[in-house]
Each structure stands twice: as C-alpha cells, then as structure tokens.
C-alpha cells in the first residue's frame, strides 16, 4: 500500500472539508457528508491500519514517550496517528459549528475558531468553550438606563 499517497489523499479531502465548514452555508447534506461520510471513512482507515500494523511495532505502546516514538517509526502507524488527528479534529470542528450555530454565534467569529481548531485542534476547542461560557459570566444589562 502506498502510504504517502493515502496521506496526501486524506489531507486533501480534509482540507476541502474544513474550507467548506468555515466558508459555506451549513447545508444539511454537506454536514451529513462530512459527519457520516468523510469522518467515518477516516475512522475506518484508521481502524484498518491499527488492526494490521499496530502490534508489529517493536517496543510500541502508549505508556511512555519512547513507546509512542517507536510507534511513529512505522510509516503505516504514523499515517494512522495522523488520520486520527484529521478525523477527530474535523469531528470537533463540526461539534463546535453545531454548538456555535445553536447559540447564534456570528459566522465571522466562528471562522477564526474553526481555523484554529483545524490547525491546532485543542487550542480551538479551548477558545470556543471559554467564548461559549463567557456569556453566562456577564450579567444581563441593567434595565432602564
């Protein structure tokens, strides 16, 4: 299997998905294609890669940085790890978009947050969660000024 080709292919598909999520209207079919199509296909690819290659890695595991580094010395497991990022980051992006639409956050403010989630996943999630909660921190404006 050509892992380099798979890497590029997944990257391209996910890049387009993010651009769509950031810039286009939230058409149900488009959201569903990402949520139930692209993310699940990436998940399937990840699972297959793990089934086939994970336990072949000598000294691989999750228990120490050295064990994780050993995992990433194998191209297919490295690809799997990358696909894991791609799938979960996009899932979080869709979740953020859904919650943001729910509370009526302007698409202009969603843009940078989604971009941040795309590039640096957890940083975007952190920013969004604090933005979302900051509304409860501020009391409603006083009446009758």
């Amino acid at each position: 299997m050509d892992f380099h080709f798979l890497f590029l292919l997944c990257n391209q598909i996910v890049l387009v998905s993010w651009l769509v999520l950031i810039a286009l209207p939230r058409w149900p079919l488009v959201i569903a294609t990402m949520r139930n199509g692209i993310i699940l296909l990436l998940s399937l690819l990840y699972a297959v890669l793990m089934f086939v290659y994970f336990f072949r890695v000598e000294g691989g595991g999750f228990g120490s940085l050295e064990a994780v580094r050993a995992l990433f010395s194998s191209d297919p497991v490295l690809l799997g790890g990358w696909v894991h990022y791609l799938a979960f980051d996009l899932f979080v992006g869709l979740w953020v978009a859904a919650r943001a639409d729910e509370i009526g956050m302007s698409r202009f403010l969603q843009g940078p947050i989604l971009l941040l989630t795309f590039m640096f996943g957890p940083a975007g999630l952190l920013a969004f969660e604090i933005m979302r909660r900051s509304r409860q921190v501020f009391p409603p404006p006083p009446e009758g000024i």
Binding site: R26, P28, L29, I31, A32, R35, N36, L94, A97, A98, D101, E102, I103, G104, M105, S106, F108, L109, G111, P112, I113, L116, A123, L126, A127, E129, I130, M131, R132, R133, S134, R135, V137, F138, P140, P141, P142, G144, I145
Partner: protein, 285 residues
C-alpha cells in the same frame, strides 16, 4: 429510502435566535464572545510567559500578546458597559450589530496574529521583512481601524439616541468614545506610519524594551509615542467615569465637568505627543 434519510440527517441545529432575529442582545453577545476568545488566549499566553525563554526587544516574547489581550478585552468591555445607553432600536440596528461584530473579529485577528508571531519567535508590529509578515502587519493596521471605527460608531449612536437620564455618563460616553477613537486613530497612525521616526515607537534613548517602565514598557530614556496612544485610547474609559462621578457629586454642572475633562484629556494627549517628539521620556525611572 429510510437509510438515505437517516444518512442525510446530521443532527445539526438550526441557527439560534440571536442570529436570525434582530435581538437587542446580539451586539452585546458578539462582544462577550470576543472577550471570551481574548481570555482563552490570555490564559495560554500567561502560562507560556512562564515557560518560554525567548526574548524580543530584550523582554519576554509573551509580554506583548498579554498586553494586547488585556487592552482589547478592556476595549470590548467598555463597549459592553456603554451599550445600555443606546435605545432598543439602535441596539437592534444593523450598524451597531456590524460594529460589534467587526470589533470582535478584528480583535480576534490582532490577537491571533500577535500570538502566532510570538510562537514563531518573531515580533509583529513593524516586522515587514518577509511578504507574509508584511501582509500580516498591514492587516493588523486594517484591524485597528475597525476597532476604533466600532467604538466611534457606538459613541455616535449614543449621541443620536439622546435621553435625559444620567446626563454626565451619557455625555462622557459620547465624547469619550468619539474623541478617544479619533485620537487613537491619529496617534496609532503616526506610530505605525514610521513617517516621523524610523524605529517606530522610540525617539532617542535606548531602543529596546528592557529599560522601559514596568508593565507599560514605555521608554525611560527617550521619547515614546506609545504614551500618547495609551492616553488617547483610555479617554474612552476616563470620560464616562468622570461623567458618572459628576452625576453623583455635581449633578448641576455635569456638562461643564465633562467638557473640561474632554479638553483636558486632549491636552494630555497633545502634551505627551510633543514630549515624545522632543525625545523626552514620560517618566525617567
């Protein structure tokens, strides 16, 4: 067919109430979201400040993101604070909604770019050595115009709203937002144009930040245009506060008090500007 319908359902909610209706709370919410973003970046930058040993202009590279996150939060907080002086129709208006969105978005952009540059170990203002950085610096200029345009429009809208309650607070808000925005645009414009000085902010003295005043960073050895920028911008808070105080203590003379305050603050900006221009520090430490 049922399977297809199931596939198409994405559990994505319909846009919320604030997005579609002209809710009077929309502009406020947008600014609150904007502050939330600043706070998230502020927390991250503060921890990075403790761990990152890199320096820019001889001070911690995360100093500048922290200062911007704090002052942009204060700018939006000021707008939220003064917004109740608007009538409901102004609160629902497109101009206020778009002003708030533009301010929150521009503040997000400024912070995002400054944080990115700090993470890359680079400065942000005056850094134009590579094409992307030149574009980033130019975009920050556009963003800063949006920031002061938003507060100016809020001041204008409060003036158009009128009303008799809290006359000092109202007048302070109108004058503070309009004068503060205009003077910020002027001082920051001169600061960034590099027309008067090559190094940007400093005239004479040591051209680094290590010898600056604590927190503010203003030069203690030479002129520094950031002083005038600081006083211009904080007119937006000073005059409403002065007006509130006058409403309490001197209700018969609020116009006089706020008017004198406005003239005085313009004088302070002019004086600190001239001081920097002559190469003198605001405070010699």
């Amino acid at each position: 067919m049922a399977l297809l319908a199931h596939f198409v359902s994405a559990d994505h909610p319909r846009p919320g109430v604030f997005a579609q209706s002209g809710s009077p709370d929309l502009a406020r919410c947008v600014l609150i979201f904007g502050i939330g973003f600043q706070i998230a970046m502020l927390g991250t930058s503060a921890i990075a400040y403790a761990f990152d040993e890199r320096l820019v202009n001889a001070i911690n590279i995360w100093t500048k993101p922290l200062k911007f996150q704090i002052s942009l939060s204060l700018h939006m907080l000021t707008m939220i604070w003064l917004m109740p002086l608007l009538s409901e129709s102004w609160l629902r208006s497109r101009s206020i909604r778009w002003s708030a969105t533009a301010v929150a978005f521009a503040a997000m952009f400024e912070t995002a770019y400054i944080v990115l540059q700090s993470a890359r170990g680079r400065g942000s203002h005056y850094i134009v050595q590579t094409p992307p950085e030149a574009a980033g610096y130019a975009a920050m200029g556009v963003g800063s115009v949006a920031l002061v345009l938003g507060s100016f429009i809020l001041g204008f809208a409060i003036w158009r709203t009128g009303g008799r309650a809290h006359p000092g607070f109202r007048l302070g808000a109108i004058l503070g937002l309009t004068i503060g925005s205009v003077l910020t645009l002027v001082t920051a414009g001169i600061l960034s144009s590099g027309r008067l000085i090559e190094s940007g902010r400093w005239i004479a003295g040591l051209k680094n930040d290590a010898s600056g005043l604590p927190l503010l960073g203003w030069s203690t050895t030479g002129g520094d245009y950031r002083v005038a920028h600081f006083f211009s911008t904080h007119i937006m808070q000073a005059l409403p506060l002065l007006g509130l105080t006058a409403d309490r203590l001197l209700p018969s003379k609020v116009r006089l008090v706020v008017g004198v305050g406005a003239l005085g603050s313009v004088a302070v900006v002019a004086a600190t500007f001239m001081q920097a221009r002559s190469g003198l520090p605001f405070l010699a430490w």
